[in-house]
Subunit: 207 residues, 2 copies
């Protein structure tokens, strides 16, 4: 599946979750356009990846659609995730409310700072980075999250990959050099600010 | 300029900054492909937005290219940013090392939690949300960052927009309903995890 389609599916599922929480049972492609900004035509086209199942005039059942997209994204079974970095960002990630809904589980949190090791962040005790390889092997985690400073990111990423991690979320503002079989998603906050800066300077004046 | 081109430019500038820090003076489109994953052909095409200025066999001067892209993204002049939310995420954002390089300045940090108001995070004293409108008007900020829980995000966004903010970075896992003239960039951590989940399950097996 092409990456832009994947990115749209992740937007749809977030929206569908919100609709479910609000008690909405069915949704039309026009509703989805209003909620997500993706056109109704594009939405219907994306759903063709798993065969159309909306009913004309009724729309899509929210729960069914959410479950189908979850299967497609492979977030329908619990997955173990390793988090490296127990600073403010790591703590914010642990507190993030969506883990359970997406069936991700933080298997372990690591840091190399002796002041952080042994401390509890919510229900996670921060482990010494020395134990990374041992824990990675025992939980069989395939996904890792880098919430470490830029100068530490490449070294930690190399260790995660050597320990069997094949997918990384990188919050550090640095480009990682990794083997081609490792998937990386960069979360670049300052890139988003730069994009926003351009949009703000070029948006039409208010009426 | 189309959004995908903007997103690539923000990737280029991050890469060019890293090259500058490493002391690299010039870079070829092939180097850029290796560093960013964007093809050399696409890179050259994107640069056509401001006229080609690389020299065959020599490549692009890193600093000049970085400055040109900065002008195009409108990050060549200082911009005031309001940050709402002084929890772990807000604290992590304040500590982010790229603000100065991109010429963004955190003009003020707000929270509604009495335990946080008045506390100092690095060189920022957390202000009471009650002062949002007053401060927004006095600093003339146009960009705001939402680092608040999902249930608070819409209300805070509405206040920011009423106070003159026209661009928002939203970290809260909720879709905001805002006037069309307001630009929003969503940073959806769990969406990235969901996309990564699919990529990890569908990547070719290691040789």
């Amino acid at each position: 599946m092409p990456l832009p389609a994947l990115e749209r599916l992740s937007t749809y599922i977030r929206c569908l979750r919100q609709l479910e929480e609000e008690g909405t049972a069915s949704v039309s492609s026009q509703d989805m356009e209003r909620h997500t900004g993706v056109t109704a035509a594009q939405f219907r086209k994306d759903l063709s990846y798993f065969g159309e199942f909306g009913k004309r005039g009724i729309g899509y059942r929210v729960t069914e659609l959410r479950e189908r997209i979850a299967r497609l994204l492979n977030i329908d079974e619990e997955q173990q995730v390793l988090l490296v970095g127990a600073g403010h960002l790591g703590s914010a990630l642990i507190a993030y409310p969506g883990w359970h809904f997406y069936r991700f589980r933080i298997a372990a949190v690591f840091d190399k700072d002796p002041d952080k090791i042994g401390a509890a962040i919510r229900n996670h005790v921060v482990l010494d980075m020395e134990r990374l390889e041992e824990i990675a092997a025992s939980v069989g985690a395939r996904i890792g999250i880098l919430a470490v400073p830029a100068w530490d990111a490449q070294g930690v990423a190399d260790r995660l990959v050597a320990a069997g991690i094949v997918g990384l979320i990188n919050f550090a503002p640095t480009k990682l050099r990794l083997p081609p079989q490792v998937s990386v998603r960069e979360v670049c906050f300052i890139c988003e600010l730069a994009i926003l800066s351009h949009l703000v300077h070029h948006q039409p004046e208010k009426g």
